[in-house]
Symmetry: C2
Subunit: 222 residues, 2 copies
């Protein structure tokens, strides 16, 4: 294929919604999670985010990007007020209800009630989990970083508890996301069911890349 | 299913490699991109990253997380010295060679030469693209944000040029990642081929979520 060149000025001249969908496709596939929070008044809230990213394992840190004064506002103010929140992987079974949490409901409406996603509260954790999520994570809010380039914020949290069916955990600690029926996202509105191609060996110079299950060589030095 | 509770102290007591794989599975699916850079001496470099995230569309901003003093070091110092770099979506056709870029080659070895991934230089852009990547992006380095919680850094760049086959762009600007054969990642070593479940309508309170192609209602208010 011969790729076409889209210069920045051509991108800027795209119709606004067209441009937003184009730009949102550039990173590739996205993680999909539901953020569960509760306000100081006890009103809970759940909203879908597609930017949850691994920042480190020691301590276990996850981050996500939030717009400061839009849809995500209730979630953000709840996290800052309460100090804890949950992340719940979106599954292929409830992706449409998860998508619906992005609708701009009034503040007094809990998206749990509006979408029918079932909330679960657990002892000692002051934020709601999504019952039907295959991987449910309790986080402690650690830092908000203002991104001055565009006014967004990066929310960093430390993993405190994880709730997951042990059948989904492989012998080496990896969670089998395909077995979990976790969904992947793309752009603003695409939902995907990924199929495993391969789990591969740790890469070392002058060693082939092999499939962990079959031992098949998938790449080798010429 | 009844999920099992893993407390933070149980997570900390996991064997180190087990724990790293477990923690890396928590965000869900990951974007997979190859970062192309060149040093002031003209030595190019390509390395796989699984943390590229959309930070905004106006201006178009992408970020990724880098460890400051490890494998990624050449890439990071090249970006800082040169001011530009490329991101190239990993495809299901070259995922094993893309994985091999994570091997710790000596500084004088270009991962392009070591892995056989084909480089492309384009007029006026001082960083190499990956020829076989379906979506190739030229970025200008804008900011490095130190994450003090764990010593990682967030690299933010502004999209300057995009190279993509126009056949992959849908009528509304969305890039069809399944048609592009873009791969998704999970954990440290999982490579996936996602299948589209649905592209869905923009969510509004009291409106159903429908499939954009068929009009089928996928969720509606009770």
């Amino acid at each position: 294929m011969t790729p076409k060149h889209f210069s920045r000025s051509e991108i800027e001249s795209m119709e606004q919604r067209y441009r937003v969908k184009f730009i949102n496709s550039l990173p590739g596939y996205k993680s999909l999670n539901l953020v569960g929070t509760i306000s100081p008044d006890g009103e809970d809230n759940v909203s879908i985010v597609s930017t949850v990213t691994h920042f480190g394992s020691a301590p276990p840190l996850l981050g996500y990007v939030s717009r400061p004064a839009t849809v995500d506002r209730h979630t953000l103010s709840n996290i800052e007020a309460n100090g804890c929140y949950t992340l719940n992987q979106v599954s292929t079974a409830h992706f449409a209800a998860a998508h619906q949490t992005s609708a701009r409901y009034p503040r007094e409406t809990s998206e749990f009630d509006a979408t029918g996603l079932e909330r679960v509260f657990r002892d000692g954790i002051e934020a709601p989990f999504v019952a039907s999520s295959p991987v449910q994570i309790h986080l402690e809010f650690r830092q908000k970083i203002d991104i001055e380039l565009n006014g967004t914020v990066l929310i960093l949290g430390e993993v405190k508890d994880v709730f997951v069916d042990p059948k989904l955990i492989e012998t080496d600690g990896n969670i089998d996301l395909a077995l979990a029926a976790t969904a992947a996202g793309s752009g603003l509105d695409g939902y995907y069911a990924p199929e495993l191609i391969s789990r591969v060996s740790y890469a070392k110079p002058d060693q082939p890349v092999t499939d962990l299950a079959t031992g098949e060589e998938l790449w080798k030095s010429c």
